[in-house]
């Protein structure tokens, strides 16, 4: 079996793969990775998943078209990179990962339809996918009904927990509270102005932030405004900000609206080197569109920045750029997307099986020490323990790390006192 060249690893792919995986020392030990040496299919797959003696199939379900494509492309790229690296290192339980990519087309029912197709027709062992909360909400009943396993990469509002989902991004309290504590302490901030896009994630995040500001930090929220998705007129709220003079502008505006918001802020003479602004929605990907000069000086609070200075990240970033081009930037969600296939692999190996029930049960406690963000571990509630970091946007579109929590923060999707 192993003296036959691997079918899926022929020329162009292999070259890319070898370059991308140069960082992995295992490659030099295994010049031609061999598959099929793992445990028998009958023992690792008792539920009829798409697993053969040499291959295991997973699904990738993101928007490759439509308004969300610009955001989700990074996740697709990261997941493909992770799958190639895992294959180069010998696959999962001796089997090469084959992926089927489906397009959710930025349309929630399409996500549900494609998730069902992946689970029912293709019998995939896991799905790496979804981005917006709305797409996850559409897919969730499907993965629960057909007992699939979804690895969801985006930071999100919490208030959800499922046996069939591993949330590799941060939930709201994990992301927000440390950032608010830091800015209150460092900047002596007492008054906050909230601006968000009008849907569930910003509203829930702001609700949590408001309770924290009022009850814990004993500060004041001087304004809270929401704009429809895709909105590009922020002049009235910018005038209100200038009138109320908050210590901190706290924003969770998403997508293309960010471009208009930061440009109008700058045009109105709000200088981000003097006016503190804390965002939880702008990653390196968004700055690509906003332009570094329009947002330099703003603080962002999340778990990963491309500029993180640790050994894992120093191999991850070049590997990503090798595969997808020098100009690509890597944001928080892209990194979380990269965690999905790896966590799944590690869980499969811990469980000794691809069966979804066994993976769901074995997930708690799985740790990934090579994570670009440092180290992550899956909590019993299927979210990740992770650190929270504050970065400051620079002119070149990168963030400079200003602060990181000393310890991993426990994920708490149903936070008491914040609902």
């Amino acid at each position: 079996m192993s003296d036959e060249p691997n079918k899926g690893l022929r020329s162009p792919l292999r070259r890319k793969l070898l370059m991308g995986a140069a960082a992995l020392p295992l490659v030099s030990i295994l010049p031609r990775p061999s598959f099929g040496a793992g445990p028998a299919t009958a023992t690792v797959n008792t539920t009829g998943l798409a697993v053969t003696d040499t291959e295991v199939t997973v699904g990738i379900l993101h928007s490759a078209t439509g308004t969300m494509a610009i955001s989700e492309t990074g996740s697709i790229q990261a997941e493909k990179l992770a799958i190639e690296q895992i294959n180069a290192a010998g696959g999962v339980l001796g089997r090469k990962i084959k992926f089927i990519q489906e397009d959710g087309a930025s349309d929630w029912p399409t996500f549900a339809e494609k998730a069902k197709k992946l689970l029912v027709n293709d019998k995939v062992a896991a799905i790496m996918g979804c981005w917006t909360s709305a797409s996850r909400k559409a897919v969730l009943p499907v993965v629960e009904q057909y007992n699939g396993m979804l690895y969801y990469p985006t930071f999100y509002e919490g208030l959800e927990q499922s046996k069939n989902v591993i949330y590799t991004g941060q939930e709201a309290t994990q992301q927000i509270l440390a950032g608010l504590n830091w800015i209150a302490k460092e900047k002596g901030a007492k008054s906050f102005f909230f601006i968000g896009s009008d849907y569930i994630w910003p509203r829930t995040s702001n609700k949590i932030a408001r309770k924290h500001v009022e009850n814990v930090l004993k500060g004041k929220v001087v304004g809270e405004e929401y704009y429809a998705l895709g909105s590009t007129q922020f002049n009235s709220v910018i005038n209100k900000i200038k009138l109320t003079k908050p210590d901190v502008i706290f924003t969770d505006v998403v997508g293309g609206s960010n471009v208009a918001f930061y440009k109008q802020l700058k045009a109105a003479g709000v200088d981000l080197s003097k006016q503190a602004l804390l965002t939880i929605s702008v990653t390196e990907d968004e700055i690509d569109g906003i332009g570094g000069e329009n947002i330099a000086g703003a603080y962002a609070c999340m778990k990963y920045f491309q500029s993180l200075d640790n050994a894992n990240n120093k191999t991850f970033v070049p590997a990503f750029k090798k595969m997808w081009g020098e100009k690509t930037v890597i944001g928080d969600v892209t990194q979380a997307g990269y965690l999905g296939p790896w966590l799944w692999k590690l869980t499969c190996e811990k469980a000794g099986s691809f069966d979804v029930d066994k993976i769901a049960a074995a997930s708690a406690g799985v740790e990934f020490k090579e994570a670009p963000e440092g180290y992550v571990r899956i909590h019993e509630n299927h979210h990740l323990w992770s650190k929270t970091r504050v970065g400051r946007a620079k002119l070149d579109g990168q963030f400079e790390l200003i602060f990181e929590t000393a310890d991993l923060i426990e994920p708490d999707p149903f936070p008491k006192g914040y609902q």
């Binding site: 490759a64 078209t65 990519q101 489906e102 397009d103 087309a105 349309d107 929630w108 029912p109 399409t110 549900a112 339809e113 494609k114 069902k116 197709k117 029912v120 027709n121 909360s133 709305a134 909400k137 559409a138 969730l140 009943p141 009904q145 509002e157 208030l159 009008d198 849907y199 569930i200 509203r203 829930t204 609700k207 429809a228 998705l229 149903f414 609902q419």
Partner: protein, 381 residues
């Protein structure tokens, strides 16, 4: 012009039987549960397309806002299913058990008054039909009584669809916002998510679809249908002949709204959720495209158009996740440029005429009487 006394002429009868065979026998026997559920989803759009044949093809009223009626019907059904799914036991982890989860996330502590009727299934069924009709009646009365028509009417319907979307997204505590109403499970205790249930729902849907086809055919054949056509061709003459043009237009618009709403309600049952992405401008225009591809004068064409476009959407996007939208765009351009009368035009020009010629030549050979089959082939509009 002589009005055909038969309900279906021969070519329509062939179309009717073919469609019945296809939907009742061929598709259920040849497709697996997953694909059949997809067909069921496509067919919900056929309801809208049939409504558009009446209102746009015959009445000449182009509405670019059918998504709002589809959505209203769908939301009525979704509200009923959501209330059933949000029983106190199912929602004990919430701060206020017994209300839908998204209300709880938005700090709403009591069920809003307009949700209360949706505890009752009969009232829900009534609402699915009445709410969109009332809405269409108000829009229709406001527009047609003032003689707003043509392209202005199309633009206004589009604007109303956009406003309704913004309203639903903005009032997320009451409507579920951009996520829509999700995680629907049972209908009067019957689990609608199983393959068995989907199979039964498919047949319920096809029966309803044929109900709509027969109704549309009935409207088309009555004097009312003739007035609609006359109105489309020469509105002023109809008005000068003493007819109240506005009332007929309102009727056609309301009928199309009811068909759309039934489609929307079935969509919620088939797919298991409803969201504002079916209400706005883009889905509304897509629905017009289904009708255009099928042929806007043909009731059967509307069904085939909805099936074909959605089937193409699914298969193209499965095979080419990055490029499929271009393929779909090319399909639309090809249809409009090469076949302005859509699928039914292709059928009438290339297939139907040959069948007619064949049949009349057989008849001529076999018997004495001359055939008038070509004359009764298609109504003269």
């Amino acid at each position: 012009m002589i009005i055909n006394s038969r309900f279906f002429n021969r070519s329509e009868l062939i179309g009717f039987v073919t469609l019945a065979l296809l939907l009742f026998l061929i598709l259920p026997l040849s497709l697996d549960a997953f694909r059949l559920n997809l067909v069921a989803k496509y067919l919900t759009y056929a309801f809208v397309a049939i409504g558009l044949v009446l209102c746009w093809g015959y009445g000449g009223i182009l509405s670019l806002g059918q998504g709002m009626f589809f959505g209203l019907g769908g939301y009525c059904m979704a509200m009923f299913l959501k209330l059933e799914a949000s029983s106190v036991e199912n929602t004990k982890i919430q701060s206020t058990p017994g209300i839908p989860d998204f209300m709880d996330w938005n700090q709403i502590t009591a069920l809003p008054f307009f949700w209360k009727p949706f505890h009752s299934f009969p009232l829900t069924l009534l609402a699915i039909v009445l709410v969109p009709t009332l809405f269409a009646f108000i829009i229709g009365t406001a527009m047609f009584k003032r003689r707003v028509g043509g392209v202005y009417f199309a633009i206004i319907t589009q604007a109303i669809a956009a406003i309704l979307t913004i309203l639903i997204v903005g009032q997320q505590g009451y409507t579920g916002g951009i996520n829509g109403i999700t995680d629907l499970r049972t209908l009067n205790g019957w689990d609608i998510r199983t393959d068995h249930a989907k199979f039964i729902l498919y047949f319920v849907e096809v029966v309803l679809l044929f109900g709509c086809i027969v109704t549309a055919q009935f409207i088309r054949l009555t004097k009312l249908g003739r007035i609609l056509v006359a109105m489309r061709e020469q509105e002023d003459r109809v008005r000068f002949s003493g007819y109240s043009v506005a009332n007929f237009k309102i009727f056609a618009f309301c009928a199309a709204a009811i068909f759309s709403a039934i489609g929307g309600a079935l969509f919620t049952l088939e797919v298991g959720f409803m969201s504002p992405s079916f209400v706005g401008i883009v889905p509304s225009i897509e629905m017009v495209i289904y009708t255009a591809v099928g042929g806007r004068m043909s009731i059967f064409g509307a069904v085939y158009g909805s099936l074909l476009v959605n089937f193409a959407k699914t298969t193209l996007s499965e095979s080419f996740p990055q490029l499929w939208l271009f393929g779909l765009g090319a399909l639309f351009i090809a249809v409009v440029l090469a076949f302005p009368n859509g699928l039914s035009g292709i059928w009438a020009d290339h297939v139907q005429s040959r069948i007619d010629r064949l049949i009349s030549s057989i008849k001529r050979k076999s018997g004495g009487w001359t055939s008038n089959s070509v004359a009764d082939g298609a109504p003269a509009e």
